[in-house]
Symmetry: C2
Subunit: 805 residues, 2 copies
């Protein structure tokens, strides 16, 4: 029998003991390795059993038709879906002719672990074959941060007790058979065998395969090479065929003897480059990696991560689970973006095929805020990717008779792939989210070259969009009608507060950037009149307010809608979108995810503190968190309002989303935005970071359960460290010149090497806001002994997952 998997809470490591054969999909996502360029799910080396095999190359996708029962103008006809490319992870083992498969024989022990400082997935197995031969297998796997086209594997098998004939097969397999999804049969059909073989070659210990995707015509080269160590008698055989390559080593091991293999795996892919060029590219990467060697790659990996953690590490005392979770989160956010390099950062990173591998607004709104302070080059490259898609976004704007650019709601390659426009095209806020990420990146890094070369154009084209999408009404208010805000349980509404405030910021940011780069602005057709019309529209931006209730309606008229009947909604009817029609969700007051609350987080200046407290309480009672994008935002506003224990609860929900598989869909890939959200909840929530003005501001304050919080930020040429305890916050400029910041509204000047410690003002006493019945932050997630009042102790009851983000 196989011991059930358990995960140990350790500060720097994710360690699994035992194995859940029935829940492998989850661990495959948790142990996925990626550098943003290549992604390998944490499948077992030997391939079987699996939850879902997965090897992904950023941007490699296949096309599939998007069907409509009733067609409409501007509906995208073709969708893009991430594909499982040539699998180079496979290392099969035969022991005296019996395949090593954990489901047969006896699994004496099974352990996997990854240290976030090391970036290598380790595995140790002791297994007895059905015939009684014991072996020990140790393996290691990495996807290189330093050599972006490279993954490498270490594999060691040792005979125990008796001599054993072992055979190790290292493979490349294209068009792997995948488990059938329950969903749309058309999608599955289109993606069966997406790779068409163009070339295969085997020689010595090396195999190469080249394929091209059937419809999207992306050429993919995969190549592997090997080094073996062990008894002298090792025989090695190499072969290839169109969809497979195999290097086989065989030897008889005496007890205690080991066969060791190092495998290097290189990928290359392109929409344009020729077959010989790509073949050479993969080969070159492979030779360089072989030259570096396994230990050299491990060393480079560590150096890369050391540099990252030196800047980015977050320390949390008092909640060991959150400590582990936030490092797990930062590791995976880094993995998603590190070497994406002008390709998208998908909602699942490269950890699984969820959402078809699409990137949404999550990237700019949740992932980039983290990367901007911790790995700014990755943030810049993600925005450069958006910039490369500007021609497509301009085309879409033209199709819609709008000015500027209309970025897609969901895409891999830049084309709109959303098949439901009320929650796709109509969610125009994605354009302001991109602009906001540009402005944030430039503000934090002072990268004026990026601003001039790419940022300005993104700001200008999105500003143009807003100016043409909105209009002045007879009262002189600038209105943006008929759009969908972040909350996907409302759609096609007028004057969504989040959208209008973000559009306003976009218009002002574009005008300001044009002023800083007048020459480039002129080239882009922006003169003083254009900029003035943006500022005017921003100035006149209409922000509806319900004076009777003293709260902001999420969109105009929202607070007059009927409230959702939460009392008569059963636990199993969540997420609501799987059990109620859109029209019913749209016409009522029920909120899937932070919308007005996100507006208060991003554009806090537009609200008084009292408004924030009233608004937050009002929307808490309506928000069901059917989206994983919500909890972290609620954490930030809860903390700002002074609901610290509630903020802690939301932090835990965001941070443990995947480690606890709260939405039961971690198997499809990690919720990268929610992982990023754990950093946001800590740094923007308990750290109180706000940084859209001229001076970076903090308002730190810890909940009862946390005794210390420490985080670092790279900001305007400094490395700033913030350490927070219950009583005080200490600001240290670790590198770079002195800087000015705000601490709870007070201006402070911090000199390099001279930490400033400041008192934290007492927290005002407020009643904890109520959530809809049954939708309180999950109480079982709460750490023992936390001061918060307890709710029911039922386990997670949130099946399914959110649909768009």
């Amino acid at each position: 029998m196989i011991e059930k998997a358990s995960y140990v809470v350790e500060p720097w490591t994710l360690r699994e003991s035992g194995l859940d054969v029935d829940d492998l999909g989850r661990s495959e996502s948790l142990f996925a390795l990626s550098n943003g360029h290549i992604g390998l799910r944490g499948n077992l080396d030997e391939g079987d059993p699996h939850g879902l095999p997965g090897s992904y190359l950023n941007s490699v996708h296949e096309l599939r038709p998007l069907p409509y029962a009733e067609a409409g103008y501007g509906y995208p006809e073709s969708g893009q879906t991430v594909i499982n490319v040539t699998n180079g992870k496979l290392i099969r083992l035969l022991v005296d002719d019996e395949p090593f498969d954990v489901r047969y024989g006896e699994l004496r022990s099974h352990q996997r672990r990854i240290d976030f400082r090391e970036g290598v997935l380790h595995r140790e197995v002791e297994w007895v074959s059905p015939a009684g031969q014991a072996v020990r297998v140790r393996s290691g796997r990495l996807v290189s941060f330093s050599q972006r086209s490279i993954a490498a594997f270490y594999y060691e098998v040792e005979a125990i007790g008796d001599a054993a004939r072992v055979v190790v097969q290292s493979e490349l397999v294209a068009n792997e058979q995948l488990p059938v999804f329950k969903g749309d049969p058309r999608a599955a059909a289109a993606l069966e065998s997406p790779l068409v073989s163009e070339l295969h070659h085997a020689g010595a210990t090396k195999v190469e395969t080249l394929h091209i995707t059937r419809n999207s015509e992306i050429r993919v080269a995969a190549a592997m090479d090997h080094h073996f160590e062990g008894p002298d008698s090792i025989g090695v055989y190499t072969e290839s065929e169109p969809d497979a390559g195999r290097v086989t080593a065989t030897v008889v091991l005496q007890p205690g003897q080991k066969l060791r293999m190092v495998k290097w795996l290189a990928y290359g892919w392109s929409e344009q480059r020729s077959l010989p060029a790509l073949r050479d590219q993969a080969s070159a990467a492979l030779i360089a990696a072989r030259q570096t060697g396994w230990s050299g790659l491990v060393q480079e990996q560590k150096e890369y991560l050391d540099a990252f953690w030196a800047r980015a590490d977050v320390e949390v005392d008092g909640d060991p689970e959150v400590q582990q979770a936030v490092r797990f989160a930062l590791f995976h956010v880094l993995q998603a973006g590190a070497r994406a390099e002008r390709r998208a950062i998908p909602a699942k990173g490269l950890t699984g095929p969820g959402y078809d591998g699409h990137a949404f607004w999550d990237s700019e709104s949740y992932v980039l805020p983290v990367l901007t302070y911790t790995a700014p080059d990755a943030a810049r490259d993600a925005l450069r990717w958006r910039h490369t898609t500007l021609p497509l976004a301009r085309e879409r704007a033209e199709l819609f008779n709008l000015a500027g650019a209309v970025f897609p709601w969901r895409t891999i390659h830049g084309e709109e792939c959303s098949g439901y426009w009320p929650a796709g095209t109509a969610a125009f806020h994605v354009n302001a989210d991109i602009a906001d990420a540009v402005a944030r990146y430039v503000n934090v890094t002072e990268d004026t070259r990026f601003e001039r070369d790419e940022g300005l154009e993104l700001l200008v084209e999105t500003a143009r969009l807003w100016r043409s999408l909105g209009h002045h009404d007879l009262d002189g208010r600038f209105r943006i009608d008929g759009v969908t805000g972040p909350d996907e349980y409302s759609a096609i509404a007028d004057n969504n507060v989040y959208t209008n405030l973000m559009a306003k910021r976009n218009l002002l940011a574009a005008a300001a950037a044009a002023r800083r780069h007048p020459g480039r602005a002129a080239e882009l057709g922006v003169n003083a009149e254009v900029a003035a019309s943006w500022r005017d529209a921003a100035e006149d931006m209409y922000i509806p307010y319900d004076a009777n209730l003293g709260v902001h309606p999420q969109s105009e008229g929202f607070t007059e809608h009927e409230a959702w009947d939460f009392e008569n909604t059963k636990a199993e009817q969540y997420p609501l979108l799987l059990h109620f029609p859109y029209f019913d969700l749209y016409r009522r007051q029920v909120v899937k995810q932070a919308d007005l609350v996100l507006a208060m987080q991003r554009c806090g200046d537009a609200f008084t503190h009292d408004e924030k407290i009233r608004n937050f309480a009002y929307y808490e009672a309506l928000t069901v968190r059917d989206s994983s994008l919500s909890a972290c935002c609620q954490a930030v506003l809860a903390a700002e309002c002074g609901h610290l224990s509630l903020a802690h609860d939301y932090l835990r929900e965001a941070a443990l989303m995947d480690l606890r598989d709260i939405e039961h869909n971690t198997r499809d890939g990690l919720h990268i935005a929610s992982l990023a959200g754990s950093w946001i909840a800590l740094v923007e929530g308990f750290g109180g970071l706000r940084d859209s003005g001229e001076v970076i501001a903090f308002a730190p304050r810890l909940p009862e359960g946390l005794t210390r919080l420490r985080f670092g930020l790279g900001v305007r040429g400094r490395l700033l460290r913030v350490e927070v305890t219950a009583a005080e916050a200490t600001y240290t400029v670790s590198s770079g010149p002195a800087m000015t910041l705000l601490h709870h509204g007070r201006t402070v000047r911090v000199q390099p090497g001279e930490p400033e410690s400041l008192e934290i003002p007492p927290v005002p006493l407020l009643e904890r806001p109520k959530q809809p019945a049954g939708r309180e932050p999950l109480s079982y997630l709460r750490p023992p002994g936390s001061g918060a009042q307890s709710t029911s102790s039922t386990p997670a009851s949130r099946p399914g997952g959110d649909v768009n983000g």
Copy 2:
């Protein structure tokens, strides 16, 4: 060469001389014959050439999957599509071995005509074969009003000049090859060969075929029998195969000799009845028809139509085209509904496959108002059809967590077939339209038995829907949020005035009917409290008003939206929905079809006369009439406001929709609602009929071009005739007791046989409202010498057609 077709303007006849081989689809629709049970397109007897072959049986449909790029809760998964059933119209002719085909040889003359008093389609052709043999063919065709399962054909061929060997083949053909549609290839695939043969039999001059539809499993029996007359030497051969049957007669005709054939065609179909039962049913009908004979069927047809016209005829002096058109319209409206008998009245009747053969709100809102006064049994049966679908409508309400019934936006069989919910499910007004048709029918006919047995339940279930769909807000207003009104260029809006007013009427009508039938109401669970809550909701119904502009917004907030940029919209960009995305249409002030204007027509009491004038002018400037449902409503309100020449223009547009093929899609079937609209424009427009209160009201007033209007109404046991001239209106009770009516607001008592003539008050002088640039009522339609100012004289520029209704 074939002479181009021309249509003569005659008061009682549609007559075509010549033939447009390239535009046959249009004439096939214009000459379609139907009794509401069976429909035969006006295809040429010999089948080829054709625009679109079509034989339809009411409710016989096939299922096809409705695909979605992104699925959603409550989306219908299966659609229904009308199918072309076994074709029994085919009569092929061979002359000395050469097939009679108008495209070859010489067509000396070709004439078709139908007299609306006779209901028989006549054809006369003189043709010379390529080999030089001349023949004259005379044929007649009818679909019997008196024997609903029967169509009959008369066919006569005469040799001219030389003796000729003629062969006449009378056929039954199932699964005819149809022209490929440009649209969705999936739809076409699903409907290829929808009929599966179950039995075929040939004997003497009779052939029977039985088929069952592949997925919907509807069994269809077709049977034909024949009688031949001519020279003694006629040889007759009969044969059948699974998808075809053929009776062939051959003879040598001396010059002047004729071969005459009468063909009887019977259909039977059922979802439930067995094969032998259906076979017997068709045979029985066939024998009865044969017994009646061709001339007997022609006689019955005339008697049926005489009775109809005696009540329903509308006389129009001064505009011969409108005179012809309104009779053409009434004839086709009758054809659509006469013998539908608890089956739907589709938007195209049984004249073509447009809109998949679906019935929409058109039926209750446009067709039934006409039938209620002119053929009340047909109106009753149409409502009975809705009643039979109540179980499905209740299921759908339950699926949506609503009370009562939710009727489908589009359907054949009762299930929702709309694949785009913002213009389908969200268009809840269809439920109030059904209730309104019930109340109107009961009010006009005083059919209390129908009210008790079927009407009440329809009223009650729709009232329950509204009570659960709306809610009281904090100010005590009853709101209906997030629905779509008649105008399909807006969607998912709050408090649509039309919807709210009609829902109010629905609630009140249900409460009043429950009071009249307390026993039945109690059985339906309606007690005094329930009825009171309906009256309360009705009383509190919120009707938004824009006090600044002094007009009613179509829906809340509508008047604050940006106006459509009509100046920069090109003529070829209409209909807008084919050239602009929904999101853009929805967020702007642009109106596809009468919405607020329809509210003023149906619920005139809710508006002052000044409001009507202001509202009408406001919406005229925004309404593009991309729907054929609009012009007649605009005609009615234009007349009421005093814009008589404009009303005349709109009347002509509604009346000539198909005769002039204004939307270039008459080939897909006639616009039955627009045809009904020509009656509405005359009777509710220039007659000023309003009949939702206790007393029937008229406010007649003629435009300059019309010198006399006369129409009859069956109302509350009377036959009332109204004759209008410029100066006065004369009311005559032709049968039944005395009645009270309103003439321009003045109460008048009319005694039987004592016509009352009353003066018509002068028309107030008003500026003609402006339409969007290029969307004025089509000037080329205006009769010569009409007093209206002329607009541009460009020909029709409205390609395509409306999508839903």
